[in-house]
Amino acid sequence: MSVRYLGRKVLGAIVTIFFIIVLNFVLFRMMPGSPERVLLRNPYLTQEKIEAVREQWGLNDPLLPISISLDPPAISVNPANQLFGYVQSTLTGDLGYSFKFRGQPVTEVIGSRFWPTIILIGAAEAIAIVVGLALGSYAGWRRGGKVDRAGSGVSLILYSMPYFVIGMPLIIIFAAGLGWFPTSGMFTIGATYASPIDQLLDFLHHLFLPLATVALGLIGGYSIIMRSSIIETRSEEYVTTARAKGLTDNRVLRAHAFPNALLPMVTIIAINLGYVVGGAITAEIVFNWPGLGTLTVDALAARDYPVLQGIFLLLAVSVVIANLAADIVYGYLDPRVRT
């Protein structure tokens, strides 16, 4: 992989991230309803009070660096504007303070909800990749066979089900019904643990159903894609050559077809990350899993701009980085990309 290729990709990522930051600002400032109004139905709320809050949050500064007014026609430059302020503080790691959780920095609010989501998504992706790829490649290799028929059918159905449609029945059957698993949450409420192992086991006990939900949804998609990728690879010349040479089917699959079919999967998995975290929102809601998904929905309801911006930024930047990593891995693996 040449330095030029690497350099190009990294530069592209940086530019994209910059645009994301700007878009982030514009998008959330365009949302109607101002944050100080989050102060609920306080019968004693006064206009002076509102003004004071706006001033404090810097909401009275002009929005953009340049203001254009039509009457009288003028273009004015605003050195102190919210956009610059936002970009500057973001780049220094200051994501501001939450409007809803008054006084708490956004990084803290998001930070505490970050790990539950990462663990859930990470573990689900890991399982889905292993099972989905295995299932898909075996199904595609032996096309029309038993594994293919059963597997593809179930995969398609799972792929068509939103996460909460998978999750609700799981709760109904295994949690509320059989009682094998808790109905919600990450830890047993109000529990004290004799040892860290106990705490870990309790955590895993709570993780099982949400994990199963997200993993099942992902397996559906991955196995389908892997299946078509394998089918396409199977008809490639080098595969037919290998088979003609007399290598056993399994060996051809493992050593030749699979690695090459894997390449596009790398990109797909990377791109999928962004969608997965978003889609997992519904899974988190159904299981009351205290992760970024439930935080997003709560922050939206409360018009908590800083937190929403922080989440958006986090997700988008993660996808960019994941894509960059995929590109680098791809560049390393695929001999064709050596420019």
């Binding site: 994209t16 645009f19 994301i20 878009l23 998008l27 959330f28 365009m30 949302m31 109607p32 309803g33 398609l156 159905i157 792929y159 068509s160 089900m161 939103p162 996460y163 909460f164 449609v165 609700m168 709760i171 109904i172 509320a176 396409e232 008809s235 490639e236 010349e237 037919t240 791109i271 962004g274 969608y275 975290v277 978003g278 889609g279 929102i281 519904t282 809601i285 159904v286 997003t296 929905v297 939206l300 929403l308 989440i311 958006f312 997700l315 988008a316 996808v319 960019v320 894509n323």
Partner: protein, 316 residues
Amino acid sequence: MSATIITARDLRNERWRLRIRGARTFAGRFVRRSDGVLGLAILAVFTVLALAPALFVGPLESVTTASGGPLEPPSLTYPLGTDELGRDMLNLTVHGARISMTIGLLATAITIFVGAFVGVVAGFTGGATDNVLMRTTDFFLVLPTLVLAIALAPVVLEVIGTDAEIFGIRATLIVIVIVIGLTSWATTARIIRSQVLSVKERMFVDRARVIGSGSGRIMRRHIFPNVVNLIVAQAVITFALAVFTETTLAFIGLGDPFQPSWGQILNAAQEAGAPGLGAWWYIVPPAVCVVLVVLSFTLVGNALDDILNPKSAGRR
């Protein structure tokens, strides 16, 4: 022995004959795929329900005319039970078909229109335009869809105003349509563009250029017909995704209680505590409908994709 003069009319007739033969081959191939046929059948049922729900279950039941008790299990009067306001679930589910499918259709229209346009222009023009368009597309691909959808919804509502209505769909849901369109077009653009690129490489385009056809003509007569197949297949798959996304967004709470789509019904079921109360009839019908529709569209789309865009070694 007499020389045969081939007239323009003959050429046209020949083209038509080829087209019809092509269509028959296509139909023949399609019928042989049991998955595509199954998908089509399911789709047909839902389309009929969506076009004229009132024919089957009467007008959408209103809260003031609801006659059942809250959360009644299925019975002879109410085959699918009632919701917490006493409305007939069968009625709601069938009318939900109209809402969900209309939203899917409109969203797909936007997605395909924008995506195909961008994809064709980018793929064909190449160079700087392609670069700029692809950067934009990539940018949209990177954005977290659901969070973006959630953030865009109130903004779009502000822009279009609360009185807007298209095809009987009110403002709140139009917002969903636009949001899905905005967040889905990038994938379509990408796919179309790569198809355009591969078509561009084929010999006859160069030949046409050598003969002297202009760019627009080339785009119209050569590129487009070969891309249309892919666009159609993509449209069907996009429809599935649109219905899927709409259901998710409505479940989160962005739906409209006055026009209950399946996702909105599921949201209401969750709010009413249906899972914990064991009111499975509130959840299962809309959920099954969503899964069936998404599934059938995916099946048909895959079948179309396979038939219209055969992949084989060497033809790249």
